[in-house]
């Protein structure tokens, strides 16, 4: 395949992979790239049920491809639908209701705020991290999966159940990655994990966890720190197998919606920063998925190593403020609001995207995208307008 075959528009002078590396390094690419978490919308646009989005990879691939052909192109493939719900516990350590399982076929999955880990598990995590540092993340996630899914047994049988499914999941993603690469896209990341502090927040349940923050803060700091080597191990393993040296770190519960900026700084950020730094030592780029309002945490994020990470915002954060505060440190992605995609007009979407490109995209370091996931009821014409905006306004050498 020639270089020209791998560009998405005849005006492009970079491939999507080169563009992605440029924006992460805070260099100015040929144009602003675009990508979005596009799971349920692709399903809805492609005419399949929400159940099929998760359990029928072939149907989902066809739906996403139709979406890309009709409403794209976009630059980076943004994978999210893990092949088995049991493995989803490794991404979001929470109980959930699933379409086709305990929800109607066409509902989106619902996360449940229940205690999966107990207070004693902080000590257990610290202990296993000392015994087997490289395997601590896998051991913890297996314990969580066992408590969520009856079929994932405690002990070695649980691994026997999970391992073939994990390998099948990797094979499915590897196949999809190759398909999208052939179309000229870069792959955004190879694995999603939850940041250590946020992992405990999700698995303990928000209300119990808030009590822990007050009464067990030392245990939280010790356990989250102890887990880092286990996180790095799984990231290196998957990034190597799928040959995509980028990892998405979801930070769902560290926004100031859930904890105070001081708690973020003292209890969450230390392990997050350490994880980012260790991944970078292994040439793995971290992509932080920051849901909620991060306005009050932006100064702290300045301490991340410069020019080596991406931070995604989903709407509640003032992305224009973020550009001013951390735009010289990290690449920023986002944040066309979901309500605008669902309810706004094409003109409104166009104007907002134009502003994002002019202000957040100034001097590079920016990726156009929706705030978090494109909702299933977004208007197709608005989604198209968002993706097209980078070709309309996003070239740096006009």
């Amino acid at each position: 395949m020639t270089r020209e075959d791998r560009t998405l528009d005849k005006r492009d002078t970079m491939t999507a992979e080169e563009r992605l590396r440029a924006v992460i390094n805070l260099q100015v690419p040929d144009r602003v790239p675009a990508s979005s978490l596009n799971n349920y919308f692709a399903g809805s646009y492609g005419g399949i049920t929400m159940r099929q989005v998760w359990d029928d990879p072939q149907a989902f691939r066809a739906a996403l491809f139709k979406c890309w052909e009709d409403l794209g192109p976009w630059d980076f493939h943004y994978p999210v639908n893990v092949r088995y719900p049991e493995l989803y516990s490794f991404v979001m350590p929470m109980k959930a209701r699933w379409p086709g399982m305990n929800l109607p076929d066409d509902c989106i999955h619902q996360l449940l705020e229940e205690e999966v880990l107990a207070p004693e598990d902080y000590g257990w995590v610290t202990s296993i991290s000392r015994q087997t540092p490289n395997w601590s993340y896998i051991r913890l996630s297996k314990r969580v999966a066992s408590r969520i899914w009856q079929q994932v047994e405690e002990g070695w049988r649980g691994y026997v159940y999970l391992l073939p499914r994990f390998l099948h999941h990797l094979a499915t993603w590897a196949k999809e990655f190759e398909m999208w690469k052939r179309k000229g896209l870069a792959i955004l990341y190879s694995l999603i994990i939850e940041a250590p502090f946020d992992y405990f927040s999700l698995a303990r349940g928000l209300v119990p966890f808030i009590k822990d923050v007050r009464s067990r803060s030392e245990e939280i700091v010790t356990a989250t720190d102890a887990l880092i080597d286990g996180y790095v191990r799984i990231c290196r393993l998957v990034a190597g197998l799928l040959r995509v040296p980028r990892i998405e770190i979801a930070v769902h519960r560290s926004a100031s919606d859930f904890i105070s900026p001081q708690t973020f700084r003292e209890l969450s950020f230390p392990s997050l920063k350490k994880l980012v730094e260790k991944l970078l030592l292994h040439n793995i780029t971290p992509i932080l998925h920051c849901d909620g309002n991060w306005d009050l945490n932006l100064e702290t994020l300045r301490e991340l190593p410069a020019g080596s990470a991406m931070v995604q915002f989903d709407g509640p954060t003032d992305i224009f403020l973020a550009k001013r505060v951390i735009g010289d440190r990290v690449c920023i992605m986002g944040d066309v609001p979901n309500h605008l995609l669902c309810l706004g007009s094409e003109n409104e979407v166009d104007e907002y995207c134009h502003r994002l490109i002019e202000e957040v995209g100034r001097d590079g370091g920016y990726v156009m995208g929706a705030g978090c996931e494109i909702p299933p009821n977004a208007k197709p014409e608005n989604v198209r307008t968002m993706f097209q905006s980078v070709f309309k306004y996003g070239y740096y050498n006009k």
Partner: protein, 199 residues
């Protein structure tokens, strides 16, 4: 069609309060009410019981933890107005919802709601803890309210009750602050009267 939004942090007693409030309104003969539940992470309101009393109970399914329900809410309200023509819709918001975001989207996009009343719950037992640890979210939920309900007052003595009421008045001086025990029904009639008069 009017809209009552019941907000408040996870576990603050929204479900119990809503069930009590609706039961009170029904007993006064108020009809044509619809309940919209946003299910994220909480036990749902007693749907079967309320349905047996002739109420329509709908669920709004949220996306991921970021709770992007606003778009769905607008389209659902529009559909409800067209199909059921209710007098009032009661929305039980997610415990992690920022109410001002919901109000902003409704203000911008919804032409179906003639008036909105926001009731935010504060949990007597955990108010100090939540104000210390989840400060911005809890403040935003309380500040967006027309009526702040201090719930679970049966767990407080007189001094502690007065202290908490003062704390809430300080956070939202413009709101009416009502002490209630939704579980025991204490002072619930007062709130029901207030909502009934607004309807």
């Amino acid at each position: 069609m009017k809209l009552v939004i019941i907000g408040g942090f996870l576990g603050s007693g929204k479900t119990t309060l809503l069930a009590g409030l609706i039961t009170g309104l029904l007993s006064w003969g108020t009809r044509d009410l619809v309940i919209l539940e946003n299910e994220v992470g909480e036990v749902s309101v007693d749907g079967p019981y309320l349905r047996s009393r002739g109420l329509n109970v709908r669920e709004l399914y949220s996306g991921c933890v970021c709770c992007q329900l606003a778009g769905d809410l607008v389209t659902t309200l529009s559909e409800l107005k067209e199909t059921l023509r209710p007098r009032c819709v009661f929305l039980e918001a997610s415990g992690v919802a920022r109410l001002e975001n919901i109000l902003e989207v409704l203000d911008k996009y919804s032409r179906d709601v003639e008036g909105t009343l926001v009731i935010s719950l504060a949990d007597s037992e955990r108010l100090d803890l939540l104000l210390e640890t989840v400060t911005p979210l809890v403040h935003s939920q309380l500040k967006a309210a027309d009526i702040v309900v201090l719930n679970k007052i049966d767990t407080l003595d007189g001094t502690a009750l007065e202290e908490r009421l003062n704390t809430l008045r300080g956070i939202n001086p413009g709101a009416e602050v009502l002490p209630v025990s939704a579980l025991k029904g204490d002072n619930l009639e007062n709130l029901t009267e207030r909502v009934g008069a607004w309807l």
